[in-house]
């Protein structure tokens, strides 16, 4: 993270954007030129990724300090809340259990049960219950034996 490298990087985007892009994309001219462009892009890209996350990092640090200071002000006199809680044995056991449940394998249980109970309640958007009940109750279609 020496300034020298980063200062260099600052000039890369300008240099890149100053060139005629079409001449690179579709008529790469030569493999060498194309790879040089790729290297420039790599350096630029990695720099921006790092700077972007650095910005997030700095915000997070500032954020934490601000909140810690607020809490200290609020909790002056009370037990300090800034020390991180230790992992007790129970916590470790809880984690172990959670992990065990989380990582348990997918059990292929090839059921032997008949599936009739599923068939008897086919839930569907076309479902319709009282219609058939109606038939049963009202006997609307004569000809009963």
């Amino acid at each position: 993270m020496r300034p020298g490298l980063f200062t260099l990087l600052l000039f890369l985007p300008t240099a890149l954007l100053a060139q005629e892009p079409a001449s690179r994309g579709h008529n790469p001219g030569g493999m060498v030129e194309s790879l040089i462009f790729g290297l420039e892009l790599t350096l630029l890209g990695m720099a921006i990724v790092f700077v972007g996350l650095l910005a997030v990092y700095l915000f997070m640090i500032v954020l934490r300090r601000t909140i810690v200071r607020q809490q200290t002000v609020h909790a002056a006199g009370a037990t300090p809340r800034t020390t991180p809680p230790e992992l007790t044995a129970e916590v470790v056991h809880a984690i172990a259990l959670a992990l065990y449940m989380d990582l348990r394998t997918f059990a292929e249980d090839d059921s032997d049960e008949i599936t009739i109970h599923k068939i008897t309640r086919p839930f569907s958007p076309w479902m319709d219950s009282s219609k058939t009940a109606l038939i049963a109750r009202n006997q609307m279609f004569g000809k009963r034996q």
């Binding site: 090839d110 599923k118 319709d128 279609f141």
Partner: protein
């Protein structure tokens, strides 16, 4: 004050009112009434019925409201019907809620679902005889498939101007399945046949259930690529359900996703029944042909079951009543079969057996729709 009110009403939207609008509004109210009091397909009749009210409010043309004007809200909601992408999403949800066990435990019931598709093609012949063009006749015939999304899909592709009449006809007769089917079932069967007890279904393993959507898809869509949109989604949804590792996707497909699409699809279909384009001679003919279609489909299923019994013995015999379930109309026709069967023998549980031809009928009519689409789409 009543005078004033009447005068005011004359000036407002009441001015554009035609008798046709009132008739359609009455039909819409009837749909809502039947859905609420008789529980007839409420998940579709209520959206369609309310859509009919909305579509028949007699607003003036060019107000930026109608579903045929560009960029209106109603036209945007109608897009999924118009371009046919709602029905496949509904099939996805149906796949994610359908249990094919009944079919897997007794695969020969598949053929009952095939036989019942005769209703589609004979209706097509009737429509041709009544001077409909070939694509229109195909779209009308599919009413005999007794499957709403399939009918909407094919009509949107082959005869978009008849979509409203075809969809309303299909859903009306699906709601009337308990009225239409029993007399035909009784007419074509003897009492002995109605008392046939079928052997209990065999156990179906998880592996079979997982492999079925994959093999079913390959078998049908290699033969009929035109059925790809509907059957692809049906079997995809079923794989999500049966794979055991995509439960959350299957749950969403059969709840939020299908519900959202059902609300908007039903509403849009209702809106599209605007009186001026709906109350025509063609619509009346379509309703008449639809009744024919359902009757023939039911009869074909029952008769084919009787024919199969000529080759089957003992407890392999089929109770021909379950042939009527081959029309689809899932799960209503299966329930009708069960209730009619119980009239003759209280301890004969046909429901589980009838689910086989029932879901086979969905596959069968999607295949028929694929054939019709492939052959007729170039003739429009």
């Amino acid at each position: 004050m009543w005078e004033f009110l009447l005068e005011f009403l004359r000036m407002s939207a009441f001015g554009n009112l035609e008798v046709g609008n009132l008739i359609m509004i009455a039909i819409g109210l009837l749909f809502i009434y039947l859905a609420i009091t008789k529980d007839y397909e409420p998940l579709l009749l209520i959206p369609i019925g309310f859509g009919m009210l909305v579509g028949n409010i007699p607003f003036a043309e060019g107000m930026g409201i109608g579903f045929r004007e560009p960029n209106t809200v109603l036209s945007i909601l109608y897009d999924g019907v118009n371009r046919g992408w709602f029905p496949p999403l509904i099939f996805l949800g149906i796949g994610a809620m359908t249990d094919f066990s009944a079919l897997l435990s007794n695969p020969k019931l598949l053929f009952l679902g095939a036989a019942a598709q005769a209703g589609i093609f004979i209706t097509l012949l009737g429509a041709l005889a009544l001077n409909f063009t070939a694509p229109e006749a195909g779209a009308i015939g599919i009413i005999g498939g007794a499957d709403g999304p399939t009918a909407i899909f094919l009509a949107s592709k082959l005869a978009p101007h008849l979509l409203g009449a075809i969809a309303v006809s299909a859903y009306s007769y699906m709601a009337l399945v308990p009225v239409i089917q029993p007399p035909i079932m009784r007419l074509l069967t003897t009492k002995d046949e109605r008392l046939i007890r079928m052997k209990p279904p065999r156990a179906v393993s998880k592996k079979e259930k997982v492999l079925f959507p994959i093999l079913g898809f390959l078998a049908t869509c290699f033969l009929v690529p035109g059925a790809l949109n509907l059957l692809g989604m049906l079997f995809f949804g079923n794989l999500l359900k049966e794979s055991g590792v995509t439960e959350r996707l299957a749950v969403t497909a059969r709840t939020s996703l299908i519900d959202i699409v059902t609300i908007i699809l039903g509403f849009s279909v209702g809106v599209s029944t605007e009186a001026r384009s709906f109350l025509t001679k063609e619509s009346v003919l379509i309703f008449a042909l639809g009744a024919l279609a359902f009757s023939i489909a039911t009869a074909s299923g029952v008769l084919f079951a009787k024919m199969m019994n000529l080759f089957l013995k003992g407890d392999n015999r089929i109770n021909p009543l379950i042939g009527a379930a081959g029309v689809s109309a899932v799960p209503d026709s299966a329930r009708v079969v069960h209730v009619v069967g119980q009239e003759y023998d209280k301890s004969n549980f046909l429901l589980m057996h009838a689910m086989g031809p029932n879901v086979a009928g969905v596959i069968g009519s999607a295949i028929a729709a694929g054939v019709l689409w492939s052959v007729l789409r170039s003739m429009q």
